[in-house]
């Protein structure tokens, strides 16, 4: 039996990680190819791959993937540009925090998906509406999480900066921001993951392109292979973006690992 908290080697870690995927697909194949589940409800892995191939080569699914990625990244960057400075301000200045924190906390619980009908009314069914759904879903989360991180900055580091001659602005710029930069990057990585769920919701309603739209279309045709292929593609993109984010963070903040 493994001991609690005992580390495992890198090789074991990778092998174990991959074997779960293998096990998952095997169970799926067994259930579908073995005839235990009706094909109407769940396609088998081979059909799924064939359907996927067809989608990519015949139906321009790559374009759908591209447009979905663009929406997520666009809405997310818009939210980050506005939320990160606000969060830093909130964490640094307590009067500002007292002013906006109650509202942001309230707004955070407004479900982004519930805004979809309203946003269609306001912004139509164009790209703006998709971006806004993701924006609303991400912006308040980022503000609050960044504010908490900045507010928890080690007091002794701030005091040290003051005794070294930093001004109030200097403390924000040269202590609060660099001290929390890795944490802020980590927050963005997390929220980007959530943004993916919002984009699909936005695309399920009133959309003529994107992965979510394809999934809804496939439902009408009972093409479960295509639907599953779409869902898996989202998972893979999420995995890749997570990996990239982590790699960039490692590169940007070597002192964290030093």
């Amino acid at each position: 039996m493994p001991r609690p908290l005992e580390p495992v080697s890198q090789g074991t870690r990778v092998t174990l990680g991959i074997s779960f995927f293998v096990l998952f697909v095997a169970a799926w194949a067994f259930a579908t190819l073995g005839g235990f589940v009706s094909r109407t409800f769940l396609a088998d892995p081979i059909t799924m791959l064939q359907d996927g191939w067809l989608l990519l080569t015949r139906f321009g699914f790559l374009g759908d993937i591209g447009i979905t990625v663009w929406r997520v990244v666009g809405g997310f960057i818009l939210a980050a540009i506005i939320a990160v400075p606000l969060g830093i301000m909130m964490g640094a200045y307590k009067s500002f925090e007292a002013f906006v924190e109650p509202f942001v906390s309230f707004a955070r619980y407004l479900p982004a998906s519930a805004f979809v009908p309203l946003l269609i009314l306001w912004a139509g069914i164009g790209e703006m509406q998709k971006l806004l759904v993701i924006f609303i879903g991400s912006v308040f989360q980022i503000i609050l999480m960044v504010a908490v991180a900045v507010g928890n900055t080690r007091r002794d580091l701030v005091e040290a900066a003051y005794t070294l001659g930093s001004s109030d602005k200097g403390v924000v710029r040269r202590v609060l921001i660099p001290a929390n930069a890795p944490e802020i990057a980590e927050i963005l990585r997390l929220v980007l993951g959530w943004a993916w769920t919002y984009v699909i919701v936005a695309e399920l309603i009133g959309s003529s392109s994107g992965i979510g739209h394809m999934i809804i279309d496939s439902q009408a045709l009972l093409a479960t292979g295509q639907m599953i292929f779409g869902i898996i593609i989202i998972g893979i993109i999420g995995l890749i973006s997570d990996f990239l984010f982590k790699a960039v963070n490692r590169k940007l903040f070597p002192w964290r690992l030093a």
């Binding site: 080690r154 002794d156 580091l157 005091e159 040290a160 900066a161 003051y162 005794t163 070294l164 001659g165 930093s166 001004s167 200097g170 040269r174 202590v175 660099p178 001290a179 930069a181 903040f253 070597p254 002192w255 964290r256 030093a258």
Partner: protein
């Protein structure tokens, strides 16, 4: 002829009671004059207000009453004219050792070439050559505190304040650090205010030991240390040193007993 650099005038500190509790008087009205080039150690049991006094001088805490004058000007807040070394490791973890030492100079707007020169000289003085590009995490506790001393000194402050800077270090390292700090002081003739609860450390470093009483903090004794300079660690075993140590041990013991409520 010595000149007064720092004057503590009737400074007291009362912390407001938590949740309607009774206010805590941490520091009785205290007077202290620090002369240029003094090395003063403030010795007392924990909770005697010695750190509070130092933080007030640093400008990180405000006195409830009284005032502190540095070169005749009243202290209103923290500033680069008073360098501070904390007990906790307060190097900026995202900056390298050289960048940490240069921090204050950068804030002051010292040009890069001059900055590098000063940083190099202090890296040398605290024996950290070859570690300029390391991050604090990669250094031992002793090395981190040496960097913190260099960082404070690079700013060329009027007075150096140290709040139990070697408290978290092991005994051997602490001894080496004391010698290093004393060596710098002997060479550069800085004015130093050093808070500690370690009697040996207080005597070895000081030209004057201030003994503080248990809460509420109050200066109980002001004892000059006439041991010759330069001091070597072997001095800690001389009869003069031992008799001073015996005297201070007695003073502190009474306070510690009182602080602990043991009679």
């Amino acid at each position: 002829m010595s000149t007064t650099i720092l004057q503590i005038d009737n400074v007291s500190r009362v912390f407001p009671g938590v949740r309607g509790g009774v206010p805590v008087r941490a520091l009785e009205p205290t007077n202290l004059q620090v002369e240029q080039n003094d090395f003063i150690t403030i010795l007392g049991p924990s909770g005697c207000g010695k750190s509070t006094l130092l933080r007030i001088v640093a400008g990180l805490d405000r006195p409830t009453d009284g005032r502190v004058l540095l070169n005749g000007r009243e202290i209103k807040g923290p500033g680069a004219d008073r360098g501070m070394v904390f007990q906790s490791y307060t190097l900026f973890p995202w900056l390298t050792i050289a960048e940490n030492i240069a921090y204050g100079l950068r804030e002051k707007g010292v040009p890069k070439a001059q900055r590098q020169e000063i940083v190099a000289s202090y890296t040398e003085k605290v024996g950290l050559r070859g570690f300029e590009n390391h991050y604090p995490k990669q250094l031992s506790g002793g090395m981190q505190q040496r960097t913190a001393i260099a960082r404070a000194l690079a700013n060329d402050p009027e007075i150096l304040l140290l709040d139990e800077p070697f408290g978290a270090l092991d005994n051997q390292t602490r001894g080496l650090m004391q010698e290093l700090l004393l060596g710098i002081w002997e060479r550069e003739r800085k004015t130093v205010l050093f808070v500690t609860h370690d009697i040996e450390e207080a005597i070895f470093l000081a030209s004057r030991v201030i003994v503080m009483s248990a809460r509420p903090g109050r200066i109980k004794a002001d004892i000059p240390v006439e041991l010759p300079h330069p001091r070597h660690y072997t001095m800690k075993t001389t009869p003069e040193f031992s008799s001073l140590k015996a005297q201070l041990t007695e003073e502190i013991r009474v306070e510690a007993i009182q602080a602990e409520g043991v009679h």
